[in-house]
Point group: none
Chain length 148, copies 2
């Protein structure tokens, strides 16, 4: 921004000098004062506009607009967390069923295992998550990015 200003200032100076010369030339050929003034006015007005445009053209305002992305369907499982907690795939699967609001019996049906097995898995995953209730397990599971 510094450089262009100086440059334009210089350019303005040069133009003014040029106009001074032109002024004398106009005087020599004896034109009317009104025409002379008008011309100077028009020229400098144009120059000013051009200068103004040039000066502001550079100042593009970058507006960073934070746009809400509609669908944050960008769930990615935190596998490091899964491993650090020692949660097995089967346990994770059961946790997902729990999060879906299913009872142990329903989970048993969908997972093709006995209800007791579901209980074992859920107990284990609760233990690993530090949860005492299935709702808490769901809450923690979401917090830890284990389930969507």
């Amino acid at each position: 921004m510094r450089k262009p200003v100086l440059l334009y200032g210089l350019l303005g100076g040069v133009l003014i000098v040029a106009l001074k010369l032109i002024e004398y030339r106009w005087l020599v050929v004896e034109h009317s004062l009104e025409i002379y003034g008008g011309l100077v006015a028009v020229i400098f007005a144009g120059l000013g506009i051009w200068l103004g445009l040039k000066l502001t053209r550079k100042s593009e305002t970058v507006i960073v607009r934070e746009v809400e992305v509609p669908a944050p369907a960008d769930f990615t499982r935190d596998n490091s967390k899964v491993e650090s907690l020692g949660i097995t795939p089967r346990e994770l699967e059961i946790l997902e069923f729990i999060a879906a609001g299913l009872s142990n019996k329903e989970i048993a049906e969908r997972a093709h295992v006995s209800e007791n097995t579901v209980k074992t898995h859920s107990s284990r995953v609760f233990d690993k998550l530090g949860a005492r209730r299935r709702t808490q397990a769901v809450q923690l599971g979401k917090e830890f990015r284990l389930i969507p």
Copy 2:
């Protein structure tokens, strides 16, 4: 953008007229041609710059950079759903506690009511949601945008 241009055009016209008048006045008092020309030049240059700035101020090159914002803090309760289901504020509050993974006893403590009351509220909200388990109630609550 149309209006300002016209406005500035008009303003420019007015100023030109004013300058014409000034011009004649200057003539009357018989100042030197150089000073007169310089003044006109300076005035019109300033006017031009000002005009140019004004004109381009509006037409700033706006670069909209869409930034992926995580922002899950965009939860707004679907009050119409709340009303259509006939869920009371207290019930909603209990539902939130349930979603937080608290037991009825814990909820009773935090809400300063007896466990029985919590059970009543939860039973009612389950009924209204069509849920049979608290995990399912949480799931449905989130689906219906009743809780974050």
